[in-house]
């Protein structure tokens, strides 16, 4: 299947004065996952400009974090990245560890990797269902949620919470996974591997979908790099860049996985990159499980979390409220499900950060919409939006 050219339409500059239509998509709209307003200027249905207006979900999370302990920061940040909350937990923990110079045991690193990959899969599954809704494929979302459910159950088994886990803590992970976790994980993986094949039938094998996604919303690699695109969006544009491989953290340099790269940067490429990423994540999870099996659990929980007296006191707050982090600055980045999720922390000593900033990929991707949608039709806007997998909670913090 070769794709010949861009299907972007020429914007017309009529000698006849035709009036432009302005559609206000959102802040409440059935195809938006969370409130954001897109001001779409169009010539009929041909989009000329998309201006995202953000801020409808702004909760002042970064400001709140500046007055709270690191554990509370993790809880708040996981409310920004709610589809893969483990990433936020990891970012905060890694920042604390870097600032305080805490070494994390290898086993805990493997466990963290496992959970991070699991949340990537769960996030991508949700994206897949959402994309189906955007494309008018109403069954996809239910199938996606059905496969996602056992994964959420696994995380609940692990941490007691389905979305906001707080399982990755500074120094390691909160507790050893229960014995039944690995069995459940194997069942989940096996099932998902099969389900992914069925999922392909919904979209990749469907002529209508291929027609709607092929060469739609193309993003060239230069523009993508210049505008801070990352993650699957960047890779779909043909830039072979993955933090897990290029700037390995945890034990990512010890697993083997391939990084899917697209060619045209269109909706279909972004779709295929994400689908392949799910398969790769499954293989990473399998490698993690194998590595964990060969490492004996250390004493004092999984990897010996840095707990201090604050935990035993038990008056409110989190168990490691008392961590004293020395002054300094740290920037931690992970390859999140949506792209490079970074956390910049400025510490002036004390139990919490003086300033904290989240680098959210969705914010950058949302502002790619103008370039992506220009010259396409109104109907494409929603498919493109779906293919970017934008999380508004991350955009508005």
């Amino acid at each position: 299947m070769t794709r010949i050219s861009d299907r972007r339409l020429e914007l017309r500059h009529d000698p006849l004065l035709t009036e432009k239509v302005v559609y206000s998509v959102g802040p409440q709209h059935p195809s938006l996952p969370a409130p954001v307003r897109l001001v779409v200027q169009a010539d009929g249905e041909l989009i000329e400009r998309v201006t995202p207006e953000i801020g409808y979900l702004h909760r002042g999370v970064e400001q709140l974090c500046a007055r709270r302990s690191y554990a509370q920061c993790a809880a708040l940040l996981s409310r920004c990245e709610w589809l893969a909350g483990a990433n936020a937990d990891y970012l905060v923990s890694a920042a604390v560890e870097q600032l305080a110079g805490i070494e994390v045991s290898v086993r805990a690193q493997w466990l963290r990797m496992l959970v991070l990959e699991l949340s990537r899969i769960l996030s991508h599954l949700f994206w897949w269902g959402q994309l189906g809704l955007e494309a008018g494929q109403i069954t996809a979302v239910f199938w996606a949620l059905r496969e996602r459910e056992p994964g959420l159950d696994l995380l609940e088994l692990l941490s007691g919470h389905r979305w906001h886990h707080g399982w990755i803590v500074p120094g390691g992970v909160r507790r050893e996974p229960p014995a039944e976790f690995y069995g459940g994980l194997a069942r989940f993986s096996g099932r998902l591997r099969e389900a992914l094949e069925h999922f392909e039938e919904f979209f990749s094998d469907n002529a209508i979908w291929v027609n709607r996604s092929e060469l739609i919303g193309t993003l060239n690699s230069d523009y993508a790099q210049a505008h801070g695109a990352s993650g699957p969006v960047l890779r779909a544009s043909g830039v072979d860049h993955d933090l897990r491989r290029d700037a390995p953290y945890l034990q990512y340099d010890r697993v083997s996985f391939s990084v899917p790269v697209g060619e045209y940067g269109d909706v279909l490429d972004r779709y295929q990159v994400r689908m392949e990423e799910m398969r790769q994540s499954l293989s990473i999870i399998a490698q993690c499980v194998e590595a964990i099996a060969h490492l004996a659990p250390t004493t004092g929980g999984a990897g010996g979390p840095a707990r201090s007296a604050g935990e035993d006191g038990g008056h409110g707050g989190s168990p490691h409220q008392g961590i004293e982090v020395p002054a300094g600055e740290a920037y931690i980045a992970v390859e999140g499900p949506r792209g490079e999720l970074g956390l910049s922390v400025v510490s002036e000593g004390g139990p919490g950060p003086a300033r904290l900033h989240l680098r959210s990929p969705s914010l950058y991707h949302l502002h790619l919409l103008d370039e992506l949608c220009r010259g396409y039709l109104l109907a494409d806007l929603f498919v493109i939006l779906g293919s970017l997998d934008i999380m508004i909670g991350e955009v508005d913090r």
């Binding site: 809704l133 494309a135 069954t139 027609n211 709607r212 039709l377 109104l378 109907a379 929603f382």
Partner: protein, 377 residues
């Protein structure tokens, strides 16, 4: 004349009652069928198996608060749902549902059907224009374009059996499938025409994958975004009735109408007709009572056959809705004009060749059943 008016009224009441019940349970059926496709349960709480759900839905729709946008064009805003609702219902009155069971059997039923389906578009147009909402407006524009484009495919597909039979009367066309008039060669044109008709009908009734006038993820709900309460409910009613009417017409034109299947050369309709429809032949001359019984048995069996066939097509529509993504607007138009229209023209041409080359086959089914039981004087 008073009896005539009374008869018309009674028929109207029967039509509305039957159609409304059918509509209510079609929504139930669709919700259950979609849930089976989507690994969920669907409505199962109200009454046994959730069977009272449509009633609860209806009560809810009626009792909801009615909102009319301040800047709406009030008269048109009120007329729009009535048009789309009544056009779909009138469509249903054209369709015979069984042997000698029909409300009307017009000699130009096919044309009336096409006319009504184009009138139904006005409901959408007026709704979209009068609501003064961009999404509604866009939905209306798309709907206009879609209806105009796909009506051609629809009409051409219907013309194929019409040309073979040489009549615009629905019962005449259904009669082509009787064992004595059927010829396997008909399949060459009727089968593709049936597919063409179903695709066009799906577009005409704006079902997924052609549901662009109201596609939820783009246009909120399209042309009826600004409608609420019972007026909102009238659009889905019209849509479902339109869909069922299309399926019913498809059954008559391409699936053998209300006739029972002929198995192994034995025409079951004739068989039923022979045993119960014509008891004289079996048990000697009978009077009064037996005639009524046999006629009702024949009517009942054919009606049930018809309903089963129509449901089958409706289930296909639901199946497609559960599994296909939506077309893009321009792709839809291209599909209509560049694929369906040429295909329809080719089929009509083939049908014309058919009629010319085999004149002894065509028109054989004309007017074998001139029954005036329910036809007004």
């Amino acid at each position: 004349m008073p009896q005539d008016i009374l008869l018309i009224l009674v028929r109207g009441v029967i039509l509305v009652v039957v159609c409304l019940t059918a509509f209510a349970y079609l929504t139930y059926l669709e919700r259950r069928v979609l849930s089976w496709f989507q690994w969920r349960v669907g409505p199962n709480r109200v009454g046994p198996w959730g069977l009272f759900q449509p009633i609860a839905d209806g009560v809810k729709a009626i009792l909801k608060q009615e909102l009319i946008p301040r800047r709406a064009d009030k008269v048109l805003y009120l007329i729009a749902p009535i048009i789309s609702f009544s056009a779909a219902f009138t469509m249903f009155s054209l369709i015979p549902v069984g042997e000698r069971v029909f409300l009307t059997d017009l000699p130009i039923a096919v044309l009336v059907f096409l006319g009504l389906s184009s009138l139904a578009a006005y409901g959408v147009i007026l709704a979209g224009w009068s609501s003064q909402n961009r999404y509604s407006f866009m939905g209306a524009l798309r709907s206009i374009a879609q209806v105009i484009s796909y009506e051609l495919g629809l009409g051409l597909a219907l013309m194929v059996p019409v040309m073979i039979v040489g009549s615009l009367k629905i019962t005449d066309i259904g009669n082509i499938y009787r064992a004595e008039t059927w010829h396997p060669a008909y399949l060459f044109v009727l089968l593709p025409a049936g597919v063409l008709f179903l695709v066009s009908a799906m577009a005409e009734t704006a079902r997924i994958p052609f549901d662009l006038p109201e596609c939820e993820s783009e246009l909120v709900t399209g042309f009826h975004t600004e409608y609420s309460s019972l007026k909102y409910a009238m659009f889905p009613m019209g849509e479902y009735m339109g869909m069922s009417a299309m399926c019913a017409i498809a059954v008559h034109f391409f699936l053998g109408g209300y006739l029972l299947p002929a198995i192994g050369g034995v025409d079951l309709t004739n068989w039923v007709g022979l045993i119960v429809g014509n008891p004289d032949a079996v048990w000697g001359p009978q009077e009064g009572y037996w005639t009524v019984v046999s006629l009702s048995a024949l009517g009942l069996s054919t009606t049930l056959t018809f309903v089963a066939k129509t449901l089958f097509l409706i289930l296909i529509f639901m199946w497609i809705r559960a599994t296909e993504p939506r077309f893009r607007y321009d792709q839809l138009m291209q599909f209509g004009w560049k694929v369906l229209l040429p295909a329809g023209l080719v089929l009509v041409f083939l049908a014309a060749l058919f009629v010319v080359l085999m004149p002894d086959l065509g028109g054989g089914a004309q007017s074998t059943m001139e029954v005036s039981m329910y036809v007004p004087r």
